[in-house]
Amino acid sequence: MTTEQPPAEGRIAEAGRLGDGADPGVWEVFRQEKDGDPMRHAGNVRAPDRELALSYARELYSRRQESVRLWVVPRTEISDLTDPDLLQPPLDRSFKKPGGYVMRDKLEVAKNKAKERAAETTNE
């Protein structure tokens, strides 16, 4: 194979799908590293039922006592949202973030004006 390979077809792999039509034998595992931490996705296991799923999650994701809590969720129960129009809509939303309020220049001006006014008052 060389870098001159013409682009072949492309697709989305269905095997890893979430939600409806997902593989019912796969359970997603979430773990908590230590007290106060959020649950984080860690991976997944194959199991025929919830009990074994928890058992296997313990083995694969806490064999070295590295987790204080584990959740397992059947893959069929997970809904996936990646639509950029919903998650990263294009129009300006800077009013929602602290970084959307750039005050430095205004503040400089306000401070200087306040100094001037204070100076005027003393002069009177």
Binding site: E33, S55, E66
Partner: protein, 278 residues
């Protein structure tokens, strides 16, 4: 070379077995306790061995990892019992585990044979672990505190084994055809040796007298039958026949071929040279 260790790199290894003075025990009780601990250590050692054989070749990868943990727990339990013995007898734990002749081992006949297939393994482990659980319960309130302390820790680990194995037994027993058939045939094979875990021990009356163990082995056998047979009935499986535990249930004066082969293997490196460290 960086590693992403989240654990502290140097962990203090706490001894599992508290230090004790063997002279706090009367000599007869001490001898009887040594006998009891040896049976427990050898039981855990042998079953741990057999089950660790599934590591890498269990029916499913996920189950492989789970079952291997159970085997490691058993070896870990064997280790604590050997370490207690080491304090009672002055012999080292590894010495006891690896440097006896096959005829000197005192494990129950129930676990003497090879691991065979998955059905036999699960059935045998279930029988053994339920029996061990009755034995441990009888030691939980032991007047000999170091023992009670260690038993408490061991029982907490065993709880997970029991849950896991019972689930597997149920899974197999309730599936008609091959799975159920394997369990039935294993029970048939194991019935004659099922009670061997409760083989009476020399001097066990001393242990009962001293409050080290709650009851003699024959009574523990009855307690065990009272817990397992209802469960077996519930799963519509053959019950363990009532009876007296065999007097020679831990006697390996003529060791089986299976155990001799196991012993030859597990001592092969240890016997290469006396007195070296591995």
């Amino acid at each position: 070379m960086t590693t992403e260790a989240r654990l502290p790199t140097r962990q203090l290894i706490q001894p599992d077995v508290p230090q004790f003075d063997r002279r706090t025990l009367k000599p007869e009780a001490r001898d009887a306790l040594t006998g009891l601990l040896l049976t427990m250590a050898d039981d855990e050692f042998v079953i741990g061995f057999r089950d660790s054989e599934w590591t890498g070749i269990a029916p499913m990868l996920e189950e492989d990892v789970a079952f291997s943990s159970i085997a490691q727990d058993e070896i870990g339990h064997a280790r604590v019992w050997y370490e207690m013995l080491a304090q009672l007898t002055g012999d080292g734990a590894d010495r006891l585990a690896f440097h006896r002749q096959p005829s000197e081992y005192r494990h129950a006949r129930l676990i003497d044979q090879e691991r065979q297939g998955w059905g036999y393994t699960i059935t045998r482990r279930w029988l053994y672990d339920t029996a061990d659980s009755v034995r441990l319960a009888a030691l939980a309130e032991s007047s000999f505190e170091p023992l009670a302390e260690v038993v408490a820790k061991v029982r907490r680990e065993e709880r997970y084994h029991l849950m896991h194995l019972d689930k597997w037994l149920e899974r197999l027993a309730t599936r008609p055809g091959t799975p159920r058939g394997k369990v039935l045939s294993a029970l048939k094979q194991l019935a004659p040796v099922a009670l061997s875990v409760f083989t009476p021990l020399p001097g066990e009356e001393r242990l009962v007298e001293a409050g080290i163990i709650a009851a003699p082995m024959s009574e523990l056998a009855d307690r065990w039958l009272a817990t397992v047979n209802p469960r077996l009935t519930e799963l519509r499986l053959r019950c363990v026949p009532e009876g007296r535990p065999p007097a020679d249930g831990r006697d390996h004066a003529v060791p089986s071929d299976a155990f001799t082969a196991l012993w030859t293997d597990f001592t092969s490196v240890a016997r290469l040279e006396e007195g070296v460290e591995w």
